[in-house]
């Protein structure tokens, strides 16, 4: 680890913290339909959307009506994306004559982009037409992110409102966040990325004659416009197969910094939106602090592991001074690769600027743990906040048990039904991850997947299902996932991870919104101080540790000790 490496990490954290409050203020105003500086331009467009769609944005929806609208919207999105992928060979803007995407791969990809996972069992530049990238994948990059933020707002309203029947209007939420937040930010980001060197064109792939006289075909495309929303919406699906490790998709350390910042920006800002909505910004900072503790611990371990390098390679004459460079790019080196890996997995983004599969055993375990903990360390846009709030409900319930009082969180009594739904949401994730991993580890179709053997092969399978169910989308990419077995099981995992969490979460939101706020008394447990942060981190680690430690012991931990003993697989 170097001083400069830590300076870069500190710089990143500092900029993020500065952004959180102003962005939170803006986001909160937009989502409550208040005027912003962009209203003169965007308000007429917004009204046009509502008129054509026949919806009344002021009409509050109960949690079930909100949920139903969200689900129907997803069915429509699935049908459109699936058709675009199946029909891309006969549609325009396909200069490389890409064939239609196979049915199982189209199914997997459509579910993947709809659920904000962006797991990719294909390489973009060798599979997708420009039209599929733009009107299929980019659109769902926007809409799945908008849905996540909308759902978080619905949950926030559950805590903020008192004696209310509704939790907001789904249509207004997704239209507003897309028009006022995602799209304008993406326009600025796209131009920044192109300035840094990211291509943005619709031309055919370039044929170059190399200095030694060989031929090199260089993939092109409208990369920057997709990259902008891929990061800002914590989607993570690369335009190219190598994702943000590709020099066209992440040309400089500066583009890398902005990509890392935009992964966390909205997720961090939402903690502030929550704080403002419940009347005390400190409540939001406490959640962010709990996320921050887990984040910094992860960065420390991952950076330490990657900077140390691979002793097995040092033994055959490689200099380990640069750290573990297999699967990493020179312009990023070990520090920025480790930092990006922790951010992208903490945030359920899943973009990568280095290949996690080639990380050191413990370096690769941190991304895996980030996903297994439930994508709540900042987390996906929206999903991270509601995931974390579910853990906050659980933590406060545990604290209530200890002292024998009805637990309260930001003035709302947490009752049996709320805790049951919370546990249902929290337990769906491990069920999908461990269930499918166990299945894949015994079935021949599952065992055909991993590229590496030994404990690392098991890690590849575990990572795949964790990534799918956690809606992350990054991979230990050696796994061959484009098979009927993995396309299907991973898609089911993604749906469970998204919807089996959302539905109970919205039910809790509806129940909380209807409750009266209880007044703060001497007996109220303060949820804006270090004690609560500690309790919350403890609850997260205990749930995650009890659930996943055995699986981690079979994968990365076993591999670490095998490596120290000099074993090869």
């Amino acid at each position: 680890m170097t001083f400069n490496g830590w300076v870069q990490i500190a710089l990143y954290v500092a900029i993020l913290l500065v952004l959180t409050r102003p962005l939170g203020g803006y986001l909160g105003r937009v989502m409550e339909g208040q005027r912003t500086f962009m209203s003169p331009v965007l308000a007429p467009i917004e009204r046009g959307f509502y008129r054509l769609a026949g919806v009344d944005p002021r009409k509050d929806q109960s949690w079930w009506v909100y949920c139903r609208a969200m689900l129907i919207f997803h069915i429509a999105g699935f049908v459109l994306l699936y058709l675009l992928l199946r029909l891309q060979s006969i549609l325009p803007s396909n200069p490389q004559d890409m064939a239609a995407v196979a049915p199982d791969l189209s199914f997997n990809t459509a579910i993947s982009f709809l659920t904000n996972t962006n797991w990719q069992n294909y390489g973009g530049e060798s599979t997708m037409s420009y039209l599929s990238q733009m009107t299929g994948l980019t659109v769902q990059n926007f809409l799945s992110a908008a849905t996540g933020i909308a759902l978080a707002m619905a949950f926030i309203r559950g805590f903020a409102r008192t004696g209310a029947k509704g939790i907001g209007n789904f249509w207004a939420d997704i239209v507003r966040v897309t028009l006022y937040v995602l799209l304008p930010f993406c326009i600025v980001l796209t131009l920044f990325y192109v300035w840094q060197g990211v291509p943005q064109n619709l031309g055919a792939y370039v044929e170059a004659t190399t200095l030694e006289g060989g031929k090199q075909t260089i993939a092109q495309g409208p990369v920057a416009s997709q990259l902008a929303i891929k990061m800002l919406g914590t989607n993570g699906g690369g335009f190219f197969n190598a994702n943000s490790a590709h020099p066209y998709e992440n040309p400089t350390a500066l583009s890398n910094l902005v990509q890392m910042l935009t992964i966390f920006a909205i997720g961090a800002a939402l903690t502030n939106v929550f704080g403002r909505a419940v009347g005390a910004e400190r409540q939001g900072w406490a959640l962010l602090a709990a996320m921050g503790v887990l984040f910094v611990a992860g960065v420390f371990v991952a950076y330490w592991a990657e900077a140390g390098g691979n002793p097995l390679l040092a033994a055959v004459g490689m200099d380990n001074a640069m750290g573990n460079m297999e699967g990493k790019e020179v312009r990023f080196g070990a520090p920025l690769s480790a930092l990006f890996a922790v951010i992208t997995t903490a945030a359920s983004c899943g973009a990568v600027n280095s290949m996690h599969d080639s990380f050191m055993p413990l370096g690769g375990m941190i991304p895996l743990i980030n996903i297994l903990l439930g994508e709540i360390i900042i987390g996906g846009v929206g999903a991270g906040l509601y995931g974390m709030l579910l853990f906050a409900v659980l933590a406060i319930f545990l604290a209530g048990l200890m002292v024998g009082r009805t637990p309260e969180y930001v003035g709302k009594k947490i009752e049996a039904r709320d805790v049951k739904f919370t546990m249902l949401a929290i337990l769906c994730l491990p069920l999908a991850i461990l269930g499918f991993t166990a299945l894949a580890a015994v079935l021949p179709a599952g065992l055909a997947g991993p590229a590496n053997v030994g404990p690392h092969g098991f890690s590849e399978i575990l990572y795949a299902f964790a990534s799918a169910a956690g809606n992350n989308g990054s991979a230990f990419a050696g796994l061959t996932g484009n098979t009927l077995f993995y396309n299907t099981t991973l898609a089911v995992g993604m749906m469970v991870g998204r919807f089996a969490l959302i539905v109970p979460m919205l039910a809790v939101a509806g129940s909380l919104a209807a409750k009266r706020k209880s007044a703060v008394s001497l007996g109220t447990f303060p949820t804006d101080g270090p004690l609560f942060v500690g309790l919350l981190v403890g609850a997260i680690l205990i749930v995650g540790g009890l659930t996943f430690l055995p699986a981690l012991a079979l994968g990365p931990i076993a591999e670490h000790f095998a490596m120290l003993a000099g074993a090869l697989f």
């Binding site: 004659t209 097995l312 599969d357 080639s358």
Partner: protein, 200 residues
């Protein structure tokens, strides 16, 4: 219910037009006008012919050129479309090796490459020279990896080592803004500069 279905379809289609057509196409137009070179892929030309991209590494095997990092990219096997064959720096199919840290394949490959480069336990090779990059298209090598190759280039081109060293120094970029990223050398640009040296 019907109301929701109508809203779903209308909003989906409007959003598709807005974020899936208007946005990327407008960005393509603006970017092409404002940052023409970058939008088109930062292509490098020599004598009017495209020789590559400043951002995309290419394969160098000749002793007269600086070599980039090993690349794990592949291409479809011409004999059997279901299989792939190694094709370093295939810029139409980016990929890393995805070999884990305890992979025998990885250790054997590195060992072989270290021997080829004349490295040994007491003279270790810079890590980036024997490890594949994440994209397989890394355009850069570390200054240490460039220094390692100077003597070979000087001999093959019959140039004084100091002159090659000077060229490397000119093409070494430090950290961006003094702190971001790592120092690096762009291999293709350096090799173009080598070719452009006056013949003697």
């Amino acid at each position: 219910m019907l109301r929701n279905i109508r809203a779903s379809i209308v909003i989906l289609l409007l959003m598709t037009v807005l974020t899936g057509l208007a946005y990327p196409l407008a960005m393509t137009g603006v970017a092409g006008a404002v940052f023409r070179d970058q939008a088109a892929g930062s292509l490098l030309t020599r004598d009017g012919k495209v020789v590559g991209s400043a951002l995309i590494g290419q394969n160098f095997a000749d002793d007269r050129y600086f070599q980039g990092r090993p690349s794990a990219t592949t291409d479809t096997d011409p004999a059997d479309a279901t299989k792939t064959v190694p094709a370093p720096y295939n810029a139409a199919s980016s990929a890393g090796s995805n070999l884990g840290p305890t992979s025998k394949t990885l250790v054997d490959r590195v060992k072989e490459d270290v021997e080829k480069l004349g490295g040994a336990a007491d003279k270790p090779v810079p890590a980036d020279m024997v490890t594949t990059s994440g994209s397989g298209l890394d355009p850069h090598i570390s200054p240490a990896a460039a220094a390692w190759q100077v003597a070979r280039i000087a001999k093959a081109r019959n140039l004084p080592e100091a002159e090659v060293q000077k060229l490397v120094a000119q093409h070494t970029a430090g950290r961006e803004l003094g702190i971001l990223g790592e120092p690096k050398v762009n291999v293709l640009k350096l090799n173009l500069a080598l070719d452009a040296l006056p013949k003697r």
